[in-house]
């Protein structure tokens, strides 16, 4: 037990008793069964960010834990067969549904779901001879269904990344390489003008490099939430409605925030190009407006391409 937990021992005892009484089915668990998990949750979420948490904070935190889900998980860890039956019967559809959405075939989805259940049950034993189950990581803070969905996503993404590394992949492409390749496309009319003069070609490449650096600076200067919002929208292709639901505001607000971020990015890029790379006003205007319009894309798509390149670097690492 951590020092902070010792300090709040009586409050934790009281809150644990209340949690057990709050559960519709406590499954025969006692305070001794529940308390260690509650302390772990408190340490992980409350005391980590707030060492001076008050007794009231501790009570509120424990009151917000999912009593039924937590008792079910703890009972399963105690090898309560009725609890396991209930867990499988109520959550198997959640696991399979999530697996089907991410797997490429029904067979892969079944394999993924089976792997999840195997991990939940526990494949190895710890020093005390108990099965090491993923259930021990559930804190009760979020819903059990949400946690299982996250487990499926985590397992699937990690598996995909592992397999990706086994395949010979191309080097991550920088923004300027992407732009160069686009010259091959007729409809783009060439991001870089198709000239034979090597000096002109070099000049264009230099300009592209400056823009990519300016974009990188601009994105790094964004706040954490703005940066996350930008990347979730452009790379993870989350809908505005989902973004709003995740962050706790309306879809229209998410749209306004994105528009504001684009404006901020543009201002920062223009400022960086002028001040750091010594571009003239005319060059900035010509590059961002005219050249982008030649591509048939707007600054938004430039940002998308750049972010894509950055993300590919992260993802393939």
């Amino acid at each position: 037990m951590s020092a902070i937990a010792v300090k709040h021992s009586s409050v934790i005892d009281e809150s644990v008793a209340k949690l057990i009484s709050r559960a519709a089915d406590s499954r025969g668990l006692t305070a001794d069964d529940v308390r260690p998990r509650v302390e772990k949750s408190l340490t992980k979420y409350l005391f980590r960010d707030n060492e001076n948490a008050s007794p009231s904070d501790v009570r509120t935190f424990v009151d917000e834990l999912r009593a039924d889900d937590l008792c079910l998980v703890l009972a399963c860890e105690k090898n309560d067969s009725a609890a396991w039956e209930f867990l499988v019967s109520t959550q198997d559809s959640t696991v399979r549904s999530a697996a089907r959405k991410i797997a490429s075939s029904a067979e892969d989805a079944d394999d993924l779901a089976s792997s999840i259940w195997a991990e939940l049950y526990g494949l190895k034993h710890d020093a005390d001879g108990k099965l090491k189950s993923k259930l021990s990581y559930y804190s009760g803070r979020g819903s059990l269904g949400g946690w299982l969905r996250a487990i499926v996503a985590q397992l699937a993404i990690d598996e995909f990344r592992k397999q990706s590394k086994l395949v010979q992949v191309e080097e991550p492409r920088e923004f300027d390489n992407l732009a160069s390749e686009s010259t091959e496309k007729q409809e783009n009319r060439g991001f870089l003008s198709q000239r034979d003069n090597p000096e002109d070609i070099f000049g264009d490449k230099q300009m592209t490099g400056d823009v990519s650096k300016a974009l990188k600076t601009a994105i790094a200067s964004l706040g954490d939430e703005d940066r996350l919002l930008l990347k979730l929208y452009y790379f993870d292709e989350m809908k505005l409605k989902d973004l709003g639901a995740m962050f706790g505001y309306h879809e229209a607000t998410a749209s306004r925030k994105l528009a504001r971020i684009q404006v901020d990015l543009r201002k920062t890029v223009e400022k960086t190009l002028r001040e750091v790379h010594r571009w003239s006003e005319e060059e900035v205007r010509r590059y961002l407006t005219e050249t982008a319009s030649k591509l048939g894309i707007s600054l938004e798509r430039l940002v998308t391409l750049f972010i894509f390149a950055l993300i590919m670097q992260d993802f393939l690492r």
């Binding site: 519709a24 979420y45 980590r48 999912r66 979020g142 996503a153 996350l228 989350m238 992260d314």
Partner: protein, 367 residues
Amino acid sequence: MDFEFDNEMDAILKRTRAGDGATFETHPDADEIAAFTERALSDASRQRLTAHFADCGRCRTILSTTFVFEPEEATVAAAAVSTETAPLPWYRKLFVFPQLAYTMGALALLFSGFFGYVVLKNVGGTNDVAMAPKAKSSAPTQTADTKPANAPASTNTTTNAPTNAAPAANMPVAAATTRPTPVEVDGAEDVETRGPSATPPVTVAVRPKDDATRDKVAEREPERVEPLPLPGQNQSQQVYNNTQRNDGLGSVPNNSGVQGTLSSPKTEPKVNEDRSYDQKSVDETTRGAESDMARKKAYEPSKSVNGRNFTKRAGVWYDPLYKNQTQIKVRRGSDEYKALDADVRSISEKLGGTVVIISGTKAYRIE
């Protein structure tokens, strides 16, 4: 000299190469990711994880994938809760789905009830005229002189279909069903011979001239006009009401004779060939008002959720265990709501709208 590839150093170096600020130890686990998607974290935890997700592609992919896995109804509920608009006033709440369906259904029912009442009132209005005493009759029966309602010639004198000069007994009034007391008007034959009239039809019966027939008609006339059937009413009752409305009852001005146009539907009412329903229908109509309340009560919607049979009253779903305990108001999406048991929240999500649920000894009113 050959060196073996150091996988561990390779992994560490790759992670720190882009300077994403996220080391191996600080990647959030599934529990934190799930709590983040459900907004079940404190502000400090949320900020810490936001910073991580903004720079870590792997964790952000897991985050977005987890969110995509969420059931649609949970996403819709979260989106609805996250709106910044002010709470809706009560008159706007009526038009919020699913209340809109109930509102429209109630309006349709109300309107059709009102319309039926007006129609039947007009039909019954002529009962006040002198023929009223003779209208105090027992159940109407179909006599041999009258043709059944499904015989077009006798029952429907449409504006476009002149009828033959049939005896008065074969007038539209001679339908196989009961009808309001007819107005005492002579000149019933004129109804048959005259053409359409521009006057709007008033659904009244045309009194036949012949006394014997008149008496027989009077016997068939009910004492009062029946309202529209409620859902669940038996077929004979419904047919009775339909034939009431669909009779070819003529429009009659004052006592100067019939002027023609009989309002009648284009389709024949489908009358049960079994004439014994007439008596039964009349008996049932007299008990109609008394059974209205019983029918409405039996029609209260109920729904079984998670093994409990909830009933809906005044737009609110009530737990069968609710016995007027003090209700604790909880709004969906609030912290208090999240603290409720999964079973309670599951019931609340399944029923939708306002729900009163008993959990333990407490009654929660979830809105």
